[in-house]
């Protein structure tokens, strides 16, 4: 595997978590996106919880290994504002998202990192901030809504690429079906059904009609920007890019993981000449 991305990370999860390979072999990886990085980070916690000792073979490509470290992969401690960057390539290292009262500060940190590197248009900046606020606060609102998880490990990271800005958010909480199950009439849904209910109908775990609809709205915005969105929960993945998309079966993994690949021009960032 040379590219570990939204499109390929599930092959690795299948191998490690379900086919019980003795190691996570990243030796041939020459590119990794933040979505894959966050899933890899959560996979470490998942394996530890299952009492499995699995080796990790880091990429032979030095730049990828340096990027992973600069992004805070496998870091013991983690500052909330993610000030761990020590590499020119890493944009926003993995930041923990725990309590709702910290969300504003974390969003400010992400914006700061991006603005340091790229001037953003006013509209682009406001849209991105609003999206981050909604997605980040979903972690304290939903990932452990039934109190059954010791630590849902909410994390987020961001990276800039030649043509896009990539935002990833992930947790190891109760997932979409677990959250919806707290609402009468929505118990026992599969992950696929939960994804469909949330993205097609704007359903949430609350009866209150003012709650919910944010993920559906963000998906609509990303689609209108010709961006890519991946939302993975349990054993289902909603994925679309500018060419279309659907809900797909993926190997079971706890929690909710999201990846957004936004074209740079949407945020008012000039495209790099390739």
């Amino acid at each position: 595997m040379t590219r570990l991305t939204i499109e390929t990370i599930d092959d690795l999860i299948e191998l490690v978590l379900h086919q019980n390979t003795p190691s996570i072999d990243l030796r041939d990886v020459r590119f990794m996106d933040p979505y894959a990085l966050l899933l890899l980070e959560l996979l470490r916690f998942e394996l530890a919880d299952r009492g499995r000792r699995v080796g990790l073979e880091l990429p032979k490509a030095g730049a990828v290994g340096r990027w992973m470290r600069a992004m805070g992969f496998a870091a013991q401690g983690r500052a909330v504002d993610g000030r761990l960057r020590d590499s020119e390539s890493a944009l926003q290292p993995i930041a923990s998202i725990d309590e709702e009262r910290n969300v504003g500060r974390i969003v400010d940190g992400f914006e700061c990192r991006l603005v340091e590197r790229h001037p953003l248009s006013e509209d682009g900046r406001r849209s991105l901030i609003a999206i981050m606020i909604e997605l980040f606060q979903n972690i304290p609102h939903h990932s452990n809504a039934d109190g059954s998880i010791a630590d849902p490990h909410g994390i987020a990271a961001m990276q800039d690429y030649e043509n896009s800005i990539f935002l990833a958010i992930a947790d190891r909480g109760i997932g979409l079906s677990g959250s919806l199950a707290l609402r009468t009439g929505y118990e026992g849904m599969t992950s696929r059904e939960a994804l469909r209910s949330i993205f097609d109908q704007g359903v949430s775990r609350f009866e209150d009609p003012g709650r919910g609809g944010e993920l559906q709205r963000i998906a609509r915005i990303v689609r209108s920007w010709d961006g890519t969105l991946a939302v993975r929960s349990g054993n289902a993945l909603l994925y679309f890019d500018e060419t279309g998309g659907d809900v797909y079966d993926v190997p079971e993994f706890p929690g909710l993981q999201l990846g957004l690949r936004l074209p740079r021009h949407i945020l008012g960032i000039g495209m790099l000449e390739s």
Binding site: G104, V107, R126, I129, I133, H141, G210
Partner: protein, 181 residues
């Protein structure tokens, strides 16, 4: 008429937690108005207003207003840019509520509204004061249909409806625009 600046809570407002606190302040400001007073909620100085914050602060406070708990008080939005009020628009619509909003000098309706509501409200705003009979004639509507439209607008606190008498079993109302200079 009092003004209430949302920017007093910050220029980027996002979480529901922040919105809950702001709602308490907004409701206190509404309660402090005279019985038929109006609060102008201004978005001046706001950079980002998320849908979650908009719901917790504005839509839920408006729900209280529409419930009748705050008497004849009204609330309108004023924004330098229409897109800043998008979160309020989305959440009011989800709650099937509607508010008047002045964006760059033009009045629009945020939230849930139908072409019939728009047509009726626009006429009332133009006239300032009118009656259901007059509206029914101008809109070429059955009286009962016009009464229903007006009742819905009054219930949403988009107009003031004042009972001025009775004709047989039916109440006669004078209708007033809530827009104040």
């Amino acid at each position: 008429m009092e003004r209430f600046a949302i920017a007093q809570f910050g220029s980027r407002l996002g979480t529901r937690l922040e919105g809950e606190h702001a709602r308490e302040c907004l409701l206190a400001a509404l309660r402090s108005l005279p019985p038929n007073g109006q609060l102008v909620l201004t978005l001046e100085g706001i950079e980002v207003l998320s849908t979650s914050f908009s719901d917790e602060m504005v839509a839920r406070a408006y729900q209280v207003l529409v419930s009748g708990e705050l008497g004849d008080r009204t609330m309108v939005v004023e924004t330098p840019q229409a897109d800043l009020a998008e979160g309020i628009d989305v959440k009011l619509a989800q709650r099937r509520l509607a508010m008047l909003c002045r964006a760059a000098g033009t009045w629009t309706i945020l939230g849930f509204h139908t072409p019939a509501m728009d047509e009726t409200l626009r006429l009332i705003l133009e006239k300032g004061t009118t009656t259901t009979r007059e509206l029914a004639d101008e809109l070429d509507l059955q009286m009962s249909a016009c009464v229903n439209r007006v009742a819905r607008l009054a219930q949403l606190r988009l107009i003031h409806r004042e009972k001025i008498g009775m004709k047989g079993p039916q109440d006669i109302y004078e209708l007033h625009s809530i827009i104040r200079s």
